[in-house]
């Protein structure tokens, strides 16, 4: 898609040129380091990163909205969206480029944590399967959360509003899954549970790559990005 990679590259490099990018990365690495030392690097415990990955949901629920909030909201606020949308690139290319740029930044944040896996491998003999599955799960979860954040960022020119809307939606989805499963009878209790990303990540952390989980994250991310592109397109028809 014409322009997608250009936009993704600009977006990724922008994260390293603004203080927000460095703050998010520092927060990310501090929390991940803390979680690794506190839960995984304990003498006498099994050599796994299961707790490390399970804890990631709590880290990403704050970090992903912080990464995604500026993607389109900032463009709306400063007016840079106008030269972008009047250039010969489609709304889908703009949204995909933004999404890939943000996902790339999340990847850059995640990359240093591979050191933890290397430390664990050096000190003990963990099964590499669950570690691979865990990283895959984190990447898919991040993609889903970033796509949701991108949708909210396309709807407003306020980064704060985009951040809060994404955070609240992610928390409501999770809380809704818990309450829904408690109050609804079978088989309806499975509906809110299907939206629980925490449960899906728990499976990845165990080393279980369930295609239904992979499909959920991929389809939801594509769908949310598609909605964001639709929001940009409908702006022309206001």
């Amino acid at each position: 898609m014409k322009g997608t990679l250009i936009i993704a590259k600009r977006e990724l490099s922008a994260f390293f040129r603004v203080p927000l990018g460095w703050v998010v990365m520092a927060l990310f690495l501090f929390l991940s380091g803390f979680v690794f030392v506190r839960f995984s690097l304990q003498p006498g415990t099994p050599a796994t990163m299961r707790d490390f990955f399970s804890f990631w949901w709590r880290v990403l629920v704050v970090v992903s909205p912080a990464i995604s909030m500026r993607l389109l909201a900032e463009e709306h606020r400063t007016g840079t969206i106008d030269p972008l949308l009047s250039s010969p690139v489609s709304e889908v290319a703009v949204v995909t480029g933004k999404f890939l740029g943000a996902l790339g930044f999340l990847g850059v944040c995640l990359a240093p944590t591979l050191v933890y896996a290397a430390v664990l491998m050096w000190l003990a003999r963990p099964d590499p399967g669950p570690i691979f599955a865990g990283y895959l799960g984190i990447a898919l979860l991040g993609a889903f959360q970033l796509a949701l954040g991108l949708l909210f960022s396309s709807l407003t020119s306020s980064q704060t509003l985009a951040f809060l809307a994404t955070l609240v939606t992610l928390l409501v989805l999770e809380a809704g899954a818990g309450f829904g499963a408690q109050w609804l009878s079978e088989p309806w209790d499975q509906v809110p549970l299907a939206f629980s990303t925490d449960l899906r990540i728990a499976d990845f952390a165990k080393g279980l790559i369930d295609t239904s989980h992979v499909a959920f994250f991929v389809i939801a991310s594509v769908w949310l990005c598609g909605l964001a592109a639709l929001v940009l397109r409908t702006r022309r028809w206001r």
Binding site: G3, R10, P83
Partner: protein, 315 residues
């Protein structure tokens, strides 16, 4: 060519643009002039494919801006008002990004960026962050971004905002050279700017085209020149009265009125369309009456007067 046919744009119940038809030709600078809220930006946003008209159609180089939007956009270079840019980027980085969006790659992109930097006098700040630039430099980076891919249609919203007088003069010259081979539409509410730069002016008020033509056409159609006549101090009241009557009798004079604000005995003469230059006949009459004139001046109507009249009529 840019063509608007019966274009109307509604924002809910508010009609921002009403039944506008325009054909903007290449080879000249066309100015879209109007007060704030007149509908200029809405028209520009419809031409640049950022808004779809509620009724009517807009075509750019033969491509409909709604059904063939991507092709239309490929022909457009657009500088929005206040030149929105990414402050964390350098001028060169930003232009490379814009070149990529326009589909330029590799050497072609590098050459286009170098050309745009040079044309907009940005060589010395090419690698400086946009956030550290003055308003004038930012405006020039925005302009460079718009002309970078050599578009056939150039749409500039307030292109000289923030520039100093030397830069304004240079930018005007650049716009004139750019207009030679493309459609160039600029929007402004600064009258002298439009008067100095544009070959064609379209005046918009309350979403409707109120007047259009070359500056000369607009001036000619709108108002005839007036004359200021100031006799010497020794002129008697009787001589002054006789002079006023004689001037009023001249062919092409529509009225003579005393105007004390011009000085003692000052006369303000208004003329009709067929009058031509009346300075010489007035001077001859004054000499015949034995009146020595200290000042005789033709007062040409300004575009500002035309603009104000059009706006008042629209109100």
């Amino acid at each position: 060519m840019v063509e608007l046919s019966g274009v109307t744009k509604d924002y809910g119940r508010f009609r921002a643009v009403s039944d506008v038809s325009l054909a903007i030709q290449p080879g000249r600078v066309t100015g879209l002039l109007g007060p704030n809220g007149a509908g200029k930006s809405t028209i520009i946003r419809m031409i640049t494919c950022l808004l779809a008209p509620t009724q009517g159609s807009v075509s750019v180089c033969g491509f409909d801006t709604v059904t063939e939007s991507a092709k239309a956009r490929a022909s457009i270079g657009y500088l929005p008002e206040f030149a929105p840019l990414y402050p964390e980027m350098t001028a060169r980085g930003y232009l490379r990004f814009r070149a990529g969006l326009a589909g330029l790659r590799g050497k072609a992109a590098a050459a286009a960026v170098g050309r745009a930097l040079e044309r907009c006098w940005l060589g010395e700040v090419a690698d400086r962050r946009i956030s550290a630039m003055s308003k004038g430099f930012r405006q020039r980076v925005g302009l460079a971004g718009a002309i970078l891919h050599d578009p056939r249609v150039l749409i500039l919203d307030e292109p000289t905002t923030g520039l100093d007088p030397t830069q304004i003069r240079e930018t005007r010259a650049l716009l004139r050279s750019l207009a030679l081979e493309r459609v160039l539409l600029l929007s402004s509410h600064i009258l002298p700017e439009v008067e100095a730069t544009c070959d064609q002016i379209v005046i918009i008020a309350r979403g409707v085209v109120r007047a259009s033509g070359t500056p000369k056409d607009l001036l000619r159609a709108s108002a005839q020149p007036g004359y200021l006549v100031l006799p010497g101090r020794l002129t008697s009241a009787e001589q002054l009265e006789q002079l006023a009557v004689a001037i009023a009798g001249l062919a092409g004079v529509s009225g003579v009125a005393a105007d004390a604000t011009l000085g003692a005995g000052g006369l303000r003469v208004s003329s009709t369309e067929s009058g031509g230059d009346l300075r010489e006949p007035i001077a001859v009459l004054a000499a015949q009456q034995g009146v020595l004139l200290t000042e005789l001046q033709m007062l040409r109507p300004s575009l500002e007067q035309v603009f104000m009249r059009v706006i008042q009529e629209a109100a």
